[in-house]
Amino acid sequence: MLENFLAGTYALFGDPVTIGIFLFGVIGGMLFGAIPGVSMLTLAAILLPFTAGLEPAQGVMLFAVLYCTGTYGGAITAILFNIPGSPENAPTAFDGYPMTQNGQAGKAVGAAVLCSAIGGVASALVMMAATEPLANWAIRNIGPPEIFALVFFGLAVASSVGARTIWKGWMSVLIGLLIATIGQDPVGGINRYNFGLIDLAAGIAFVPAILGFFAVSEIFVQAEKKATGKYNAPAVSMSFPSALELWMHKVAVLRSILVGFFCGILPGIGATLAAFMGYGEAVRWSKNKEEFGKGKLEGVISSETANNAATGAAMIPLLALGLPGGALTAMMVAVFQMHDLQPGPLVFMLSPDLIWIVFAAMFYANLSILIIGVIETKTILNLLKIPFQFLAPLILMLATVGAYSGRGLVLDVMVMFIAGIIGYVLRRSGFSIPGIVLGLILGKIGEQNFAQGMQMVHYDLWTYFSRPICTLLIVAGFLTLGASVYRAFAPAKPSV
């Protein structure tokens, strides 16, 4: 492992272009994560078409770095503006924003910097040790039925994230699955739902849809806040927490690393579940539960450690099984596909150099959160003074080029803006954008593997369920759905 890691380090820092891309990812992820109204997903979606011009290892590495640093960057907007950069930063806002209101923004941001780095580095180390053995095991034990079962389980869990109600969570995932049926069916190549448009025969391209649902809809949300006078730029102070304060929370950090890593492995919503579980466990074990939600440092520490601990873990299903753990890892699948690669067990055999550059980059990206994070956070606080009316047209122009350049179709730009409008309307109605995107991305994978699995077992469901891993995952998926059905019919109460 050490030898491979050193080789990955050499490949990463031995080439000036790769170093440049790494630094761009580190700074870009933190910057976009920290600008209100946009997120690492916005930058990732904009960059996605341009990764076609990079080496495969550089493209995948850039996204892995964006994932680590962007997850941290999203905490800054959660703390300063009560705008989580991504769903996994939502629990950070619970205590981070009250800390800002109490004049302790610097302390909260400082804790986020340190704990994101600790969680991320720990997770990267475990990821390096665990991914390859898991991939080797997967080659022998994971086939289409198991992958379908994993997709089913991931979507079952994803339906309980980000929406206002369980029903809307399910509807969000199903909307994504329905959009994924547009284009040729994965078995017979028959055109479905192209409504007479030849360009739709190839289906809805991921990039314009993702750009629309995340970047464009976010612009519309911010526009609404401007229109209704709810857009506020906060006063900012910088005073980092002391070493003693952080040492006092060592148990919370350790607990969140464990929670984050195990949740991160789940395909679908790893980091989001991790952050909420990390926060929830902190509340559960605390003697002063009533202080949470009012500006407690432990809340920020637990959430940020857990969500960054999930970033490395989320790479395990992606690289070992080819299943994305969230919206950004779903985009990484697109990066692989652009270079005629398929993430999964075979990547370890066919492109081990790519894997170890990615691992090394994630390790150093998490370390650099500590170093660059402190410096850059101060810069970001100045950049936040740029009015959003000047950022919005720039983001929309970048998104337009990003959507168009993939296939050179104006239709894709229209798809992006339509997705933006739909995303905005659905967000206002309490639907989950991550749910829609995961449905869209996992839909084709799920259908293809279901069909292949059924063909493999000659349509005999008994044989299908005699595969233990498959059965376990399907049962776990149904239990998750059962729990949500129970919640769906339970009396309404304020959300977590």
Partner: protein, 186 residues
């Protein structure tokens, strides 16, 4: 009516309508696939059935509890409340323009091209976001446009929509010619 509001019924009607349209359209590709007995329609129809059930379940939830959030939902805190927009007609009108402008821009890309339409779009977005200082609009439009052209045309040489109607197409051609001449200097 329970706690149902008009918006809930419209939402349910939209989803039932989507399901009906997609189900009806599924007969267009209802062909058998020799190697797969479920054919091309089974998967989308199952998705449609589940979407219909979820939409009806959602309506039932809204009948019982209105628009209230449920417990146990992760990340729902990030959702925003849209009530204030509907109450403010000026803000609502402004939002309609905000939503339509990018779509009109996308529609114009094919005939007009991005090189000509971009500065107008950039300025319009600034105005819609509440910027009223003409100097600031002009300067920032110029900065964003030059950055955009510099990055995508000069540095990346990315193929962008050029338009197909004169004089817009001629303007795009002139831009590309200037870029070629600029590259010739290097």
């Amino acid at each position: 009516m329970g706690r149902l509001k008009r918006g809930h019924l419209i939402e349910a009607a939209i989803f039932v309508g989507i399901v009906a349209i997609f189900y009806a359209y599924s007969f267009e590709f209802n062909q058998t696939i020799e190697i797969y007995i479920f054919g091309a329609t089974a998967w989308p129809r199952v998705v449609l059935l589940l979407l219909l059930l979820a939409a009806l379940g959602n309506l039932y939830h809204q009948y019982r509890h209105g628009s209230e959030s449920q417990g146990g939902i992760l990340g729902a805190a990030a959702q925003q409340d849209g009530e204030s927009l509907m109450a403010d007609k000026t803000a609502l009108l402004r939002m309609v323009f905000v939503l339509l402008t990018p779509f009109v821009f996308a529609f114009l890309l094919r005939p007009v091209g991005i090189y000509f339409s971009a500065p107008f779009f950039i300025a319009l977005v600034m105005i819609m976001f509440g910027e009223r200082r003409w100097k600031a609009i002009l300067i920032m439009t110029a900065i964003i446009y030059v950055t955009f052209i510099g990055l995508f045309l000069v540095v990346l040489n990315a193929p962008l929509p050029q338009g197909n109607i004169s004089p817009f197409y001629d303007f795009s051609a002139w831009m590309l010619k200037m870029n070629t001449q600029l590259r010739g200097l290097w």
